[in-house]
Amino acid sequence: MALFDARAKDIRNLPGFGLTATLAVAFLYAPIVFLVLYSFNAGRSISRLDGLSWRWYQAVFANEEIAGAALNSVLLAVIAASVATVMATAAALAMVRMKVRRRAAAYAVLNFPLMVPEIVTAIASLIFFSSVGLGLGFGSLVIAHTTFCIPFAYLPITARLTSMDPALESAAADLYARPWTQFRLITLPLLAPGLMSGWLLAFIVSLDDFIISSMLSGPGSTTLPVHIYSMLRLGITPEVNAVSSLMVLASALVVITSGLIARKHS
């Protein structure tokens, strides 16, 4: 046994694998760290650090266009994530109680948005909304975002639902709880962490989108990524760095929140 352990340890620690993992993580983080660092630059340069300051953040907060785009983005993400979470919850509740064969077809449709390349969704939505006369703008953005958010909200919710003990619902039924009371008092509270992670995942996926929003946003409904992209026409400025860093901060907050929820309930 001792001999085997030594060998097993051997293949668990293959030479160079730890180094590769470290380099991979460094490769993923270095650009972001650099971006955030330079957003605090006191000078105008994005390649030479002339001391630290908040000036670019002040510039970002004073910029009404950025504020408007940020508000659009957050509003869009909140609405899309909320509607998608409600729809996904209903779907998940139905799916766990369905026969396997029927479930497969519904499952394929629910996951369909994950399989379509983003650019295809983007132009298909553009063609659809302009051909049915809905036009471009916030309304179309809400519909398109809700649609692609559904599978992202669905996955954590259904994972939580399948790990729940069905006996709890039966117990409630034995105590003469009607289905709605059962759902409200038993299922919903137990499902809550799944709902939260599903909502957060949908929220961040909506916030992340650039290409679909850029095709669908009309004047006045520009989202933050679309606005940042338009700022790039003047090159990368410290202001771009600052507003991008704020997006990094927003993502970090969402990840930490969702991590805390997962830890509390595991």
């Binding site: 380099l23 993580v25 971006l35 994005i46 449709v109 132009i123 298909a124 939505s125 519909i143 990840v255």
Partner: protein, 288 residues
């Protein structure tokens, strides 16, 4: 049963009406005639698909074979393929390393790998351009050490696009591989060693075949978004080298040839569905 239908209807209906139907309409648009300022005229035409392969002479209407668009298509497949391979080369050792850590370290590493995926892709792409630029930290560090005289052109070329694709999609490769390695039964290695396999042989003959479903899943998750990617070629390629995603986008912005864009998008969708279908069928056969 009726309740189930009622509960499923909103989400399935939304996806069918606002995603499946639009893609079907896009396919229809690909065989219509382009209108002058975007949109279509309702007259059937195969022009969009002919345009992919031939150039029509504006005077005598003759067709000459033109590989311009095929080259863009080929370049997209190649770039995505190379990026997938690189993700595999980096992702497999990384996933292996993470999966063999003790539990506490494992979740820390997993978090380290997943967090960048949550950061906005546009922001990540801009960040990568920042460090690859001629005046970026890599070039300045190399120059100050005296390794190079002038800056290396790291940005605005195929190399930068490839790097962008790898950094965009690397977590997609690591996570399914991690899941596969996590489930791997290490006592199988004991058997391999008993049969006098060395470490290398055990890895290639025992471990790799078992990891195949994870490798295929990771490969698809990188390759499919890679072919249609828009931001990496647009920002890191400096608009010089087009990929399929940009070519599609252009037809709805400046060029205004909706049927041609719809045709390209239909081809991308077809390639995606064929790839998924092959993988699904193979998986079903292996299950049986």
């Amino acid at each position: 049963m009726k309740l189930h239908r009622l509960l499923l209807a909103p989400s399935l209906g939304t996806i069918l009406i606002f995603m499946v139907l639009p893609i079907a309409i896009t396919t229809l648009y690909s065989v219509l005639t382009p209108a002058q300022y975007g949109g279509v005229i309702w007259k059937p035409s195969a022009e969009a698909y002919i345009r992919l392969l031939f150039e029509r002479d504006i005077f005598d209407d003759t067709l000459t074979f033109n590989t311009d668009y095929l080259q863009i298509l080929g370049r997209s497949v190649l770039q995505a393929g190379v990026a997938t391979l690189l993700c595999l080369i980096i992702g497999l050792p990384t996933a292996w390393f993470i999966a063999t850590r003790p539990p506490g370290q494992k979740s820390l590493w997993l978090m380290l790998v997943t967090v960048p995926y949550w950061v906005n892709l546009l922001v990540r792409t801009i960040a990568l351009l920042l460090i690859l630029r001629d005046e970026g930290p890599i070039n300045r560090a190399l120059q100050s050490v005296g390794l190079i005289d002038g800056p290396l052109s790291l940005a605005y070329n195929n190399f930068a696009i490839g790097l962008g694709l790898v950094s965009s999609f690397l977590p997609f490769m690591i996570l399914p591989l991690y899941a596969a390695i996590e489930r791997f039964d290490f006592s199988l290695l004991e058997a391999a060693y008993d049969l006098h396999a060395n470490r290398r042989k055990a890895f290639f003959a025992v471990v790799l075949p078992i990891l195949r479903p994870g490798l295929i899943a990771g490969g698809l998750l990188v390759f499919i978004p890679g072919i249609g990617s828009y931001l990496a070629p647009d920002i890191l390629g400096g608009g010089k080298t087009l990929m399929l995603g940009n070519l599609i986008g252009m037809q709805f912005q400046g060029s205004r040839n909706w049927p041609f864009g719809a045709a390209l998008s239909t081809i991308l969708m077809a390639v995606t569905l064929i790839a998924l279908f092959i993988v699904a069928r193979r998986a079903a056969r292996e299950d049986a």
